[in-house]
């Protein structure tokens, strides 16, 4: 048998998909990134009786993004830096630890990470817990014992790369990327061998076709033609520090054998230093997980001038679009448009605003390009461009992934109602230091409320309902077969809502603002549980400085657009579990 045949046979085994019905083995529970569970004990009729059954202080104050995993009656929790991994035994009273893994993580990562020392979670595959340390390493830890199996350096802090992203494991490949859109990195995706941690392939998001792994005959973008697109859409050499980080979520379609991920902003924020479309920043890329080959790509925001990263999840669903059943991916971009795309080809089928926006009038689905309002274009020579909507926090933050219910056919997501002024300045690349070049103060959008939790019909491109929130909403969403949607708020409420109407059925104050993603699972007693992290942070570590009380050498005034958030929350990581 040839080596190739062995690889092909191995590839047919869905390593990461061996989970039981009630488990939560990967960040979004399934490869389609749906954050949907078919558990249905908790319903609209009984959700009001939810109560906390267990809490755990992680001992860490950084923003608690990401989510726990539950596999085989064990809950796995990765903390923000210093990236401690806890394994809780759900079969015993009080859920004592089975083990705790405390890696050595370079504290320099704290200053190289743009926006708090967060981690977006782990992935369970083949008896291993795989996750990224902030300082540019991927580790695999034995799920049964907590023993480190391998540790691979994947990124370079000295170049501004940090690694809060959650890996996706497909067919014995561990797929990872790096943050650093604010440090002028040369963004990439890597495929590691699950058994050994060896780096098998590296695919850059910017550069010549040979580095982007775009091969003649295989790479077929729907809208673009020509060779070296990720090189010719940049000024000479500027692409080498052009950003395109990978810090959001990945998904995978086994029938097409395509891996989907979004890329972040071009660097620097001052667009006048990088004439051209700047492909493939602010884009979705579809690759073969085995060797990284690029199959198609689409750029949501050409020549991004507003820091509109496209790192939000690509949710895979089968929907009716214009009366026809389509295999789509659905993406809620920072730029305020929700895209429904053919996931085999990269064709845009529907692109409609899911929040107020004014940088573009619409997306032309014939060309795939946004029709831009030229008065909102930014640049160092344009001075302070006022009132751009949405703000660079995004109409939806990529940090807060949406959920999809095949029962209701709707998508559920946290949104922000914020706009910004954008004053670009010339930036200088100095390795290991920020490469930004913009000052971008925020203000509330129309109506004054800063956020909302909404339900979206991606076939029609229409909002179905929304619940407004006083503050930006920055948690992920969860939806279940009980037709209950869950989310948390920045002021520390964890809520259950009727998935059909949006009516809030239950809420509980969890001790700190929620920027994590709820999950649900079946306990050893057969009951349905819901878990979520509390622990405000992420961008709110920067923007709501007065919620921090830990550092007597760093005292800041409240954010002017959100002056009273510290009345309702402060930092601190807590794992919460709820049940009926």
């Amino acid at each position: 048998m040839t080596r190739m045949t062995v690889l092909t046979l191995l590839a047919a085994l869905p390593v990461g998909a061996a989970a039981q019905r009630g488990d939560w083995p990967m960040p979004a529970r399934d490869y389609a990134a749906r954050r949907y569970s078919d558990l249905s004990e908790i319903t609209g009729a009984n959700a009001a009786r939810l109560r906390p059954v267990w809490t755990f202080s992680t001992g860490v104050l950084g923003g608690h993004e990401g989510q726990p995993l539950v596999v085989d009656n064990t809950m796995y929790v990765v903390t923000p830096y210093p990236n401690v991994l806890y394994a809780f035994d759900l079969t015993r009273e009080g859920y004592p630890l089975k083990w705790k893994y405390r890696p050595a993580v370079d504290p320099n990562a704290l200053g190289i990470a743009c926006c708090d020392a967060i981690n977006r979670g782990a992935f369970y595959a083949d008896g291993k817990i795989v996750y990224n340390l902030l300082d540019g390493h991927t580790v695999a830890v034995a799920a049964a014992t907590g023993k480190e199996l391998w540790k691979t350096r994947i990124a370079d802090l000295a170049q501004g790369e940090t690694t809060p992203v959650a890996p996706l494991v497909v067919k014995h490949r561990v797929i990872v990327g790096a943050s650093g859109g604010e440090f002028g990195i040369h963004g990439w995706l890597k495929g590691l061998d699950l058994e050994t941690g060896r780096i098998v392939w590296t695919a850059y998001n910017i550069g010549p076709d040979s580095e982007v792994l775009a091969k003649v005959g295989t790479f077929q973008p729907f809208y673009d033609r020509g060779a070296d697109l990720a090189l010719t859409t940049w000024p000479a050499d500027v692409w080498k520090n052009g950003g395109a980080p990978v810090w959001g979520w990945m998904s995978y379609d086994p029938s097409l054998d395509l891996l989907y991920y979004g890329t972040g902003n071009p660097a620097p924020y001052n667009p006048e230093q990088r004439a051209g479309d700047n492909k493939w920043t602010a884009s979705v890329l579809a690759r073969r997980p085995e060797d990284g080959t690029l199959v198609w790509a689409y750029q949501f925001t050409p020549h991004d001038s507003w820091d509109y990263d496209a790192t939000s999840e690509m949710i895979l669903a089968d929907l009716s679009v214009n009366g026809r059943p389509r295999k789509v991916l659905v993406h809620f971009d920072k730029n305020g448009f929700a895209y429904t795309m053919d996931r085999a080809t990269g064709e845009v089928l529907v692109a409609q605003p899911f929040v107020d926006l004014n940088w573009a009038k619409r997306v032309d689905v014939a060309t795939g390009r946004p029709v831009i309002d030229s008065t909102k274009l930014t640049g160092a020579s344009r001075g302070n461009v006022k009132d751009v909507c949405p703000s660079l926090e995004g109409g939806k933050s990529p940090a807060s992934p949406a959920a999809y219910s095949p029962r209701t056919g709707l998508f559920y997501l946290a949104t922000n109602n914020m706009c910004m002024d954008y004053q670009a300045t010339r930036a200088t690349r100095i390795a290991g230091t920020p490469f930004i070049g913009a000052n971008t103060p925020y203000h509330a959008g129309r109506g004054g409320q800063l956020g909302a939790f909404i339900a979206w019909d991606a076939g029609a491109g229409k909002k179905v309902w929304q619940t407004t929130e006083r503050y930006p909403v920055w948690s992920g969403a969860l939806v279940t077969a009980g037709d209950v949607a869950f989310y948390g708020t920045l002021d520390g409420w964890f809520k259950a809502a009727d998935a059909k109407t949006g009516k809030v059925l239950w809420q509980f104050k969890v001790g700190s603002g929620v920027v994590g993603n709820p999950i649900t699972y079946t306990g050893p007693d057969g009951k349905q549980y819901v878990a979520v992290y509390a622990g405000i942070g992420g961008d709110w570590f920067l923007l709501a400085g007065d919620v921090r009380s830990d550092d007597p050498a760093d005292v800041r005034p409240p954010a002017d657009f959100m002056s009273d958030i510290a009345r309702h929350t402060s930092q601190g990581g807590i794992v919460w579990i709820f049940a009926l």
């Binding site: 504290p107 320099n108 704290l110 200053g111 190289i112 200088t428 100095i430 490469f435 050498a553 760093d554």
Partner: protein, 148 residues
């Protein structure tokens, strides 16, 4: 304004005296500092304990410009009000606020990701940065935050 000539000028004359920069091999890996531009500070003794430009407005203005050009504002925020890095205008110092201590933090970096700039900036440019930070009047200490 194109600031590249300013940076080029700063780079040409870099020479930062201070404590030894090279570390013995086998030392704790996590003690290493990030080097701005990948350039290590020179290993030489610090010449002065006092900021020679303290209170000089012209030097503070030059330091403010360097604060932007060298991307200090990218972490510490415009006006040094704090961002992912701490506020440098709140009158409180994690690693000491004397002239020499601030100089050392800029020249040799600090362990939570503050890069060492001593390989890029000459001592005078660092002292002018110190002068700029010292020119920022800390706000009144108001320990109570209240709401109605």
């Amino acid at each position: 304004m194109d600031l590249r000539p300013v940076v080029a000028l700063l780079l040409v004359t870099a020479a930062c005296p201070g404590r030894e920069a090279a570390r013995p091999s086998g030392a704790a890996r996590l003690e290493a500092r990030v080097l701005a531009g990948g350039v290590a500070p020179p290993a030489a003794g610090l010449q002065a304990d006092k900021n020679p430009f303290r209170g000089d407005r012209q030097s503070a203005a030059e330091g403010e410009r360097t604060f932007g050009v060298m991307n200090c504002d990218g972490c510490h925020g415009g006006g040094a009000v704090g961002w992912v890095g701490p506020s440098l205008r709140d009158g409180r110092w994690r690693y000491g606020g004397s002239d020499a201590e601030i100089f050392q933090s800029i020249c040799y970096g600090q362990p939570h990701g503050m890069p060492a700039y001593g390989g890029l900036l000459p001592p005078d440019a660092i002292w002018k940065l110190v002068t700029y930070l010292q020119s920022l009047e800390p706000p009144a200490n108001v320990p109570t935050q209240s709401w109605r």
